[in-house]
């Protein structure tokens, strides 16, 4: 049913329909509304679930790890410093192959402290063994959570999934979202069938020590599973379309790229702005397009290559930066094309850090810049006056 609803509230309604047995979270802006909505459902008796108020994100992540270890579906949401405080637990969850789902309401990372949106928090955790989805709008944010549980809990995958939703821009935006019925979600998402559980009837040891003769194979196994996830994610997206009647999820989305000679690649809500500019410029006769990266990990290299191999000018727009190197998605694209027969120009732009607006003009400027030399790490919309004062 279509509703005019805040992003966080819509995500909470979706999680309710996914029926986690335990939710644990710790307050941090801008994800707070998600947890508050969920615990209110429980307080109202609308949801059979326990909400464990953790004393830190490190603990809230450890708590859902414990829940998963006894074979119960769990959920957690966080942002920014909270995600970084969870960092070692997130690695532990992935290493132990627990099929958990968390939401990251993307926010900049301290210092300086800044509560506004960029994607530095989740991008920093891209190497942790979690599958990562990035949502363009709140409809996709909701749909991706349902698919996330299906993918995480697939017994051939059994890896955790992080659904990344731009803080404020999506979490606090009120827009129309088509929320599914409980029956539809039940039909799409069967009850969790855990691979291994802690049970006195059949005792196992979990999280044991692996020495140099065995540790590396555990990493290799996750790497292999990530490749399998590249196959499963599009399949789950098409099943989702059959059940719910709309396209959502998958690896990437192409937007007016078939004959394009300039394409911007980006993740999250900024893709909507890029699409608008593409429409405007197409109206002016320019052959421009956009690629939305939905699945950031596993990196859909083949899909990106297939979509972009005939495009001579590519721009990657990162809302994060690997300081001292370049935009992480930019580097991913370079890796995708390095050594291939085609070698398009792949320029990198860093934009929107700490909530700096990315306007239509910013996007136009990026398209315009592509005609010149390849750019490796260009900051967009820097305040020149501040820069002069700083140097």
């Amino acid at each position: 049913m279509k509703e005019f609803i805040e992003g966080s509230a819509a995500i909470a309604r979706t999680i309710k329909m996914c029926k986690p047995g335990v939710i644990s979270a710790y307050p941090i802006t801008p994800q707070t509304h998600i947890g508050e909505n969920l615990v209110q459902f429980i307080a109202n008796g609308e949801m059979e679930c326990q909400f464990v108020n953790a004393e830190s994100e490190h603990s809230s992540a450890s708590i859902i790890l414990g829940v998963s270890a006894v074979g119960v579906r769990a959920y957690n949401s966080t942002s920014s410093q909270g995600l970084l405080l969870m960092a070692e637990v997130l690695y532990s969850i992935a290493g132990m192959r627990f099929p958990l789902v968390i939401t990251c309401a993307n926010r900049a990372v301290s210092s300086p402290i800044n509560i506004w949106n960029d994607q530095q928090d989740s991008v920093t955790l891209r190497d942790s063994g979690w599958i990562q989805f990035y949502a363009e709008n709140n409809q996709e944010a909701c749909d991706l959570h349902i698919q996330a549980y299906r993918i995480a809990e697939d017994q051939n995958i059994s890896l955790p999934v992080m659904v990344c939703v731009d803080g404020y821009i999506l979490t606090h935006a009120v827009e129309v979202v088509n929320l599914p019925d409980q029956e539809q979600v039940d039909g799409f998402l069967p009850p969790l069938k855990p691979l291994h559980v802690l049970d006195p009837q059949d005792p196992v040891s979990m999280g044991v020590l692996y020495d140099p003769s065995s540790y590396m194979e555990t990493r290799y196994a996750i790497q292999e599973t990530m490749s399998e996830a590249l196959e499963l994610i599009p399949r789950v997206a098409s099943e989702f379309k059959e059940m719910f009647g709309r396209e959502s999820g998958g690896l990437i989305q192409e937007y007016r790229t078939s004959d394009a000679d300039k394409v911007i690649v980006a993740m999250g809500s900024v893709v909507s702005t890029v699409k608008e500019v593409v429409d405007e410029m197409r109206g002016e006769g320019e052959k421009v397009g956009a690629i939305k990266v939905i699945t950031h990990r596993p990196l859909p290299s083949q899909a990106l290559y297939d979509s972009l191999k005939d495009v001579p000018e590519i721009a990657v727009l990162d809302k994060s930066i690997s300081l001292g190197a370049a935009g992480p998605l930019h580097m991913d694209l370079k890796y995708t094309f390095q050594g291939k027969n085609v070698s398009p120009k792949i320029s990198g732009f860093v934009a929107g850090l700490g909530g700096r607006d990315i306007t239509r003009d910013s996007i136009r400027e990026i398209f315009d810049r592509l005609s010149g030399e390849q750019i490796n790490c260009q900051f967009v919309n820097l305040d020149v006056e501040q820069m002069v004062n700083a140097t």
């Binding site: 953790a54 414990g66 119960v72 044991v208």
Partner: protein
């Protein structure tokens, strides 16, 4: 004791490891219907290595500082499955994990009221990483990060009182035990697991490697820590002191310190004697605080015939100005003159000697054992 242990032999703990003995006592007492969440540390490392494990019960290890949080999740998950009536949850770690890096997680777990027993194996340092000091390292112990030297006697601070801190969370049960008293350890584990809610148990476990003592002396040293007064074995129920393991006569702390290499510098370096006096003062303070010494009439002395006391006569034995301090309890008159907690006939600023305290006992934080241990000098008339 079970013939089949739930922590199997064949693990890789050092000879004489107090933690290995205590961990087996704990899991055997808990029985097989238990799930254990373990911190990183010696116990985690020596009890398993892929593909082998010594645990005969379901067991999980994630990180150094999170066993209390992982256990909280396990407990919530079991509750969700409706299995919490049949399965008990134990979280456990060393003193570094429990008192330092994982302290906040335990505090959170206790505040939330999870039905979990947390066991801290206290060997007073980070042994797994090579004997670095923790907040449970005792005063003047030499560790690799509080080394003794010309300008150092070792660790400058005494132990943080974890059992009291956790008792102050308002949890129903917080206790200490020593591996020297295995029956007491197992009794306390069972007692704790019978209580629904958060429980804490700290077990004193010598580490021959870190303490640099003969592995054959593990039990002796653990016993001496109690008998000197350096490690009080106590129980708090609902935040109140409920029991104290009594000792016959306190042994001088030197007996405990001398066999251990980590205190050797106190017996050779100039100024070491004064340091040992400071350690003796810590032991004496514990003995006074917990009234640890059992006072009994000497066997060779014949019991004097009991005097008859009226309330008036009793009132004159008020402990003031050198007078003896007597109190009446259930018809008998006890001599509390020599008790440290009754100096000048005053007890905790609340009770005075020279009176019948039978009614007051109901409100006392301790049981009547403390009174019955005092020498009887007469009977109260009327």
């Amino acid at each position: 004791m079970a013939t089949k242990h739930l922590l199997a032999s064949g693990h890789t703990a050092c000879a004489g490891c107090g933690q290995a003995i205590a961990a087996r006592l704990v899991v055997d007492a808990a029985g097989s219907d238990v799930i254990i969440a373990n911190s990183t540390g010696c116990l985690e490392v020596f009890s398993n290595i892929y593909p082998r494990t010594a645990w005969e019960v379901p067991w999980i290890h994630s990180l150094f500082e999170n066993p209390a949080s992982v256990a909280s999740g396990i407990e919530a998950g079991l509750r969700s499955l409706g299995k919490l009536d049949n399965v008990r949850v134990i979280a456990q770690g060393g003193d570094g994990s429990s008192a330092d890096i994982g302290f906040q997680a335990i505090s959170g777990m206790f505040e939330r009221g999870h039905d979990i027993l947390y066991v801290c194996y206290d060997n007073g340092a980070y042994m797994n990483t090579g004997v670095q000091r923790s907040s449970q390292t005792p005063f003047d112990a030499s560790t690799t990060t509080t080394p003794s030297g010309k300008k150092s006697f070792g660790k400058k601070m005494p132990k943080k009182d974890l059992a009291l801190i956790f008792a102050a969370h308002g949890i129903p049960y917080s206790a200490t035990a020593s591996v020297a008293f295995p029956t007491d350890v197992q009794r306390k584990v069972k007692r704790a697991l019978d209580i629904r809610g958060p429980k804490y148990l700290q077990i004193f476990v010598p580490c021959p490697l870190g303490w640099r003592h003969d592995p054959a002396l593990t039990y002796d040293i653990a016993r001496l820590a109690v008998e000197t007064g350096l490690f009080p074995v106590i129980e708090y129920r609902d935040g109140e002191l409920a029991s104290v393991r009594k000792i016959d006569a306190p042994k001088p702390v030197e007996e405990y310190l001398k066999p251990q290499g980590r205190f050797r510098h106190l017996f050779s370096a100039p100024g070491g004697e004064e340091e040992i006096e400071k350690i003796q003062a810590i032991a004496d303070a514990n003995i006074r605080k917990f009234n640890m010494v059992k006072e009994r009439p000497k066997k060779e002395e014949k019991m004097p015939e009991l005097k008859k006391f009226t309330l008036e006569k009793l009132a004159k034995c008020d402990g003031k100005e050198g007078r003896p301090a007597y109190v009446a309890y259930k018809g008998k008159v006890y001599d509390v003159s020599k008790n440290n907690l009754w100096s000048d006939g005053d007890h905790m600023g609340m009770h005075e000697a020279g009176r019948d305290l039978t009614a007051d006992m109901e409100d006392a934080p301790h049981g009547e054992d403390n009174m019955l241990d005092m020498p009887v000098v007469g009977e109260l008339e009327g």
